[in-house]
Symmetry: D2
Subunit: 135 residues, 4 copies
């Protein structure tokens, strides 16, 4: 089985809306935090990547399904699993859990960009190899 990276996230007032639940776009923030921590666990600091190697990541497409709402003060577990890797993009399956309940799931495809031009560029070979072998 594939390892699945997980991050614990707390719901604060900033995440909620007047509907009394977490605002729908904010689940994408939680998912991005989890991808960022996955990158960090792989040794990648995006701030340095951008300033030293002129490389940044951009979302190409995504899907999200919302099943149950999260509310203020909930403790959530956000997961990310690398599901695809080509020379130029990588993909994740993600989920947001509250205990045993799956609140939301999503898929995200990410591309590498040159941060000076915002144009696509290949994933650097050392990063590609580490991700491929890390799975």
């Amino acid at each position: 089985v594939r390892p699945c990276f997980a991050l614990t996230v707390r719901v604060y007032y900033e995440d909620t809306d007047a509907g009394g639940v977490v605002y729908y776009a904010n689940y994408l923030k939680f998912m991005e935090r989890c991808r960022t921590e996955w990158l960090r666990a792989m040794g990648i600091n995006q701030h340095r990547l951008r300033h030293e190697q002129y490389l940044q990541f951009a979302i190409v497409n995504l899907t999200a399904e919302y099943r149950l709402p999260a509310v203020l003060d909930d403790e959530l577990r956000v997961t990310a699993e690398l599901t695809g890797l080509t020379g130029a993009t990588f993909s994740f399956a993600q989920a947001v859990w509250r205990g045993d309940e799956s609140l939301a799931t999503g898929t995200v495809r990410v591309a590498c960009l040159d941060s000076r031009t915002l144009k696509p560029r290949p994933i650097p070979k050392d990063i590609f190899t580490e991700w491929r072998d890390g799975q």
Copy 2:
């Protein structure tokens, strides 16, 4: 042809991130603003709907494709077209434009909830009829 509702949105610092572009989740805010104005144009104020009829909307699922990044100070046109309507959910195709360039597109399916229980409930008949005939 179907009418397509449009809203003009300006990109402020709050919408951008350290990648120098609009943060990916914030396109969903722009799309939601456009759906809200579509509702308002149909005579629906969501604040009153919630407090007088105990009705609120919740996203069931969505997809998004990101083609080109928006940057600070861009003036964007966000569109929403009603593409589906059942007794319990309604769906939109949405897009974000900068002049003639399509920056992002998405689809969103929305359900009605009872705001006291956060459980699904049917779209009220008068709203359903107006939306169906408004198209």
Copy 3:
């Protein structure tokens, strides 16, 4: 009397929280939108300013008083008045109105930074002169 710049802002779900009101930090977003439009009215596009003149603005300090809450669907009027201008910083008095009701007020002091170093630098002479004479 001094002219006071004003911007109309609509409250969307993204601005509210589970308390049923606009989240306190989001009033600062509204105030920043107003300052941005004041700059735009003075001929300044911050995106170009950053990329062509390596100049960006940063908040030095602020105060805010909250009197009455704004809620979903409110139409607000946000104002900004230039109250101070030195060689290195400029200051605003700001307010958020709903009709005749003053919901919140604030003061903000802003500095110029060199965007390559994030260090303070003087306000460019042409900008300083225009602001001074524009009042």
Copy 4:
């Protein structure tokens, strides 16, 4: 000396803006997360407080000083110290640190509201006593 409550916060893309730094209003989110965890450490869950006791908190006023910018991937320590307590409001001194550097400081005064009317009401006696004696 008074105890000072602290929370560690990581800076993600969502927190930054196109100036390459944390957006100024987002420091207030960090400060609010710290106050929320202070409340939780005192045994208060705001979601339950609102739904069981019809009590919620609202910011009355605040000040903030920004000294140095936080950037993507920074690990910050946010602190909150209770500096005042009356029958109806309580006040905090707050700070945001990166290692030994003080990036920002602030003061916040908070009132209790009845969540059904959004009008001020006294701090419940048991909460008041715990806070007073907890210092």
